[in-house]
Subunit: 321 residues, 3 copies
């Protein structure tokens, strides 16, 4: 077979060249599968992100690097630059990757609620794992795990977890993070009570309220952040998700729900309150934790973000071992 430099057109190949390529392709297929089976590290990870992300995608990619797993494919804007732009269904895309050799885990962020479940229905029969990295306003389980891990590590005096006083604050209605965190916290650590603090008429979704009640967790309402901070071991702040609010008036309410350095300095020393936030903080519109406050000793948000690497390493290792 003469040396081929370019592959430009099917016109360029002779019959025998094509048959040789096909023969070689058969070999590839056999070897690819054998080598994939032999070396566990050659099992790889695919990241399909249909919505913006920094922390989640980056921490999964870093976790993969540190574990030595290969990132076989990663797209940061699948809605624009993948075949989704040509009308391909999520199911087809997932089946495609499930069916590729070497793929073991697919990490999916998608705007539609339930998309991760739909993906899992497809990937499961292939033995491929789906990690839900956020499905619309529904869930973001690895975020909830890292949040709870952060609380678990930071808790003072090794206080039993069931006695931890957690307040979820600000846009408690639309945050999928709060949704996942409340349910996980209630289930795993069986607290007696959980605090909520939000602008007027912003409420926990009914199903979470019911879920908490069913777990025997009492919901305590705080109308202002200060009272909440004095009660709480952890005050979990969130970004107002303006994308979900049609009325500008409603969005305005969040303007007065803010953690500043003065706010934090005003909490007496002997109160335990620590500030968490899943980030991003909306510095452009709300600044719900002010710049100065972000580096206050009570503010644990960057340590919290860092924990995202370790939790995802643990999860990937669990799925890939």
């Amino acid at each position: 077979m003469k040396k081929i430099l370019h592959i430009l057109s099917i016109q360029q190949f002779t019959s025998s060249e094509v048959l040789k390529i096909f023969h070689q392709t058969c070999q590839m297929e056999k070897n690819a599968q054998r080598s994939v089976n032999l070396r566990s590290k050659s099992k790889g990870i695919v990241l399909l992100f249909y919505q913006p992300s920094t922390r989640t995608r980056a921490s999964f990619e870093l976790a993969s690097h540190f574990l030595g797993y290969r990132i076989l494919y990663s797209t940061e804007a699948a809605e624009f630059f993948s075949s989704a732009a040509k009308g391909e269904s999520l199911e087809d895309t997932i089946e495609l990757f499930s069916n590729y050799p070497g793929v073991k885990v697919i990490i999916l962020r998608h705007p539609e609620k339930g998309s991760a479940d739909r993906a899992a229905k497809i990937a499961g029969p292939y033995g491929i794992s789906i990690i839900n990295a956020g499905d619309g306003a529904n869930e973001h389980p690895t975020q909830a795990l890292l949040d709870l891990y952060t609380i678990y590590k930071l808790r003072l005096n090794q206080k039993p977890m069931k006695q931890i006083k957690l307040v979820v604050a600000n846009d408690i209605e639309h945050s999928r993070t709060i949704r996942s965190l409340c349910l996980l916290f209630a289930k795993i650590f069986r607290p007696l009570e959980i605090g909520v603090s939000a602008p007027k008429n912003i409420n926990l979704a009914k199903d979470i309220q019911n879920g908490l009640k069913d777990s025997g967790v009492k919901i305590i309402k705080f109308n202002d952040l200060k009272t909440a901070a004095l009660w709480a071991d952890f005050l979990y702040m969130t970004r107002p998700q303006i994308e979900y609010y049609r009325s500008k008036k409603l969005a305005k309410k969040f303007q007065h729900f803010r953690i500043s350095k003065d706010f934090l300095d005003s909490i007496p020393q002997n109160y335990p309150c620590q500030i968490l936030h899943p980030m991003p903080i909306d510095s452009k519109n709300f600044n719900e934790i002010t710049d100065e406050a972000r580096h206050h000793p009570r503010c644990q948000i960057f340590q919290q973000a860092r924990n995202g690497i370790y939790i995802r390493m643990a999860l990937l290792k669990m799925l890939l071992k």
Copy 2:
């Protein structure tokens, strides 16, 4: 030379620091080239995609991973985020990468017909290979190879390839895949006839019709898909490329050209017909193969997609060895 932490401004460097950097740069240049020559696996691959893709880009990336070749650079939306946005010509971009050390293969998807040829004219003198991963409505040769490989592997009773009855169907006018496949199939396996089945007034491009005639291949027209399916060993379905149709009326024609589970069940057992499709299927607008039909035993589309990995491994190995 004192330890430098940031590189922020040329103001920060002393003359001797700059000269040291330059000396070091010379060393890098020498070593980079030596190490590139020594270790063939350090030869690398660059992917430049100016149009959306999932399968093509992913399968090339996976193929590179499995072979141990490095992906030196990959962009999924070069039209927006590369210097093309500042008016850079394709030729300059290709020459740039051709001229970088370590680059051996450039995989290009570009909206303009003939772009791969233009790229090859530039890259060739550097000894760099271009792989055409789709140039507008013109060609997509690696897709045609994988399609033909799929037919080659799946053919029943080891029927001689020249007797294979292939029908290309649906949007046979704008599919670059069909263009490449028809010509490759005719050339490599010299079939007696080839079937076409499409909505009224949708026709194979004249040059393909002529190409087939010149190869002595008779074109058989089927006005409905069912008759085609009963004749065919392989029914190769395609996505209506609505982006090429100005009139909505024309686009409507495709609404009635669809492969459903009922359609497939209605084909008697002893007929060989298998369904292929290059994917993506347009689930949003046409659903030209319905969800249920995609997993019918006659439907080979996911196996076909999987073959894309192996064919591309074979091609990369051929170019890079």
Copy 3:
């Protein structure tokens, strides 16, 4: 712990599973940091690009590959697909990555002047390096270094650098490359004079003019390119940055400032003039170096681009050793 296939929802985990994950996460944290310390090559690089780029991003990525440093995370359109789209500040994004294990260098391109300094203020205390890969119209130091390195390598007869006659030409007003190059050249090689050649009313920014004067460098104006070329050892051409010009009239001026093959052929053999350009050339609107001229023996632009790899290898090695 039973085998887990998917991670879809926090609902799926039992308490003991979560605690096991947390235990595992602690191990990860310890090991991740140990392994990062042990193997210097596991130190990694993060690329955050908020504006289009080809050469700069690609050459940094290739440089990392050749040195064996890991690219931990790379985004080509952070303004759209990162948390910046949700209002996150640059400072928070930088602190996030500074705080991640394994990150050692962050390469930043950002549209705002001073953004690299802001990033460094955050990253510095963590011991993380920022490389300014372009901050608005301000600076692009690694480009200036590679430009000067190109001159340094190409100078004829080993002429002392201080006698090198450099002309910066065309859009000298908005090019951050020219800004950085003029100041670096003046500072490092202390030339007696520097030439400028641009359409009428396009001038070097005042602060650069002053900077050159303070360094004792005389500015020599050339109204036409030809006179400049006859004087120069190096004629450094730039792209008209139309994005900065409101008036179409002003943009038109650049139409007559162009280097063609005829132009280069008209320079007598014994004149040393060599053409440089940071690229991209705007082939769509101006073609400030025509296609033919790009491959004229006097035109060094592709070699110049190639030097970008080596200078960045030297810089990365310096920061990462």
